[in-house]
Symmetry: C2
Subunit: 137 residues, 2 copies
Amino acid sequence: MRSINEIPIQVLSPDEMLTGQAEAVLTEVADLLERLLATGEEGSIDLRSLPLSPADRDWLDAKLGRGEVEISLEAGGRSTLYETAYSGVWKVVHRDTEERVVSEFIELAYVPAIVRPAGADIENAYEKLQSDLKQIS
Amino acid sequence: MRSINEIPIQVLSPDEMLTGQAEAVLTEVADLLERLLATGEEGSIDLRSLPLSPADRDWLDAKLGRGEVEISLEAGGRSTLYETAYSGVWKVVHRDTEERVVSEFIELAYVPAIVRPAGADIENAYEKLQSDLKQIS
């Protein structure tokens, strides 16, 4: 008979453990995606506000997968966004000027708001272009 | 008196010459941007359909400048898009699977159409996510 010391055991560090939170996040993604479809209303999940273990995050990234679109944006620090394998579901990471991650979201939108210029931005662009054209000709 | 041979001349190759076409393109950009603002209607200019010299292209790129947003997209070849210094004005280049440039556009839009998933894509994503969630739990 083997002694208890001979039974192989595997010690999981907290980093390696799934807490169940990641699955809850994925269910929330489905709910918010349904709302986007039904009403056009956008949603987001602040990943930093949740007690996700590194294993949870890896699991979530793997489940969400990667789509075709990648976006990067420079505005007082670099933001990177990518479409997941589920259309309308985006992973969004904002960094400060020292490249430190300051926020991480899953966003539910046709295109994340940060990428879309406001009407006022386009008005300003039009006025600037008109005035630039006058200087050229 | 200097002979005519001593007068310094500069020979411009066709590559170095501005044809006036680039300025016409910029005026068209302004017209299409005005329409986007007034009606929400998007527009595009097919740069490959125009007799632009390399100098024209450089001049145009310099005048349009660069904004904050860069997008890349993999779908049967790589597409790269960037926002110019004028909000709502995007430069869009599509490549084939051998990285050859197959088309170049200036697009007038809040966000270029190729980046926005269709409603049907989001419906499919929602159904797939629902079915994936059932397999997990």
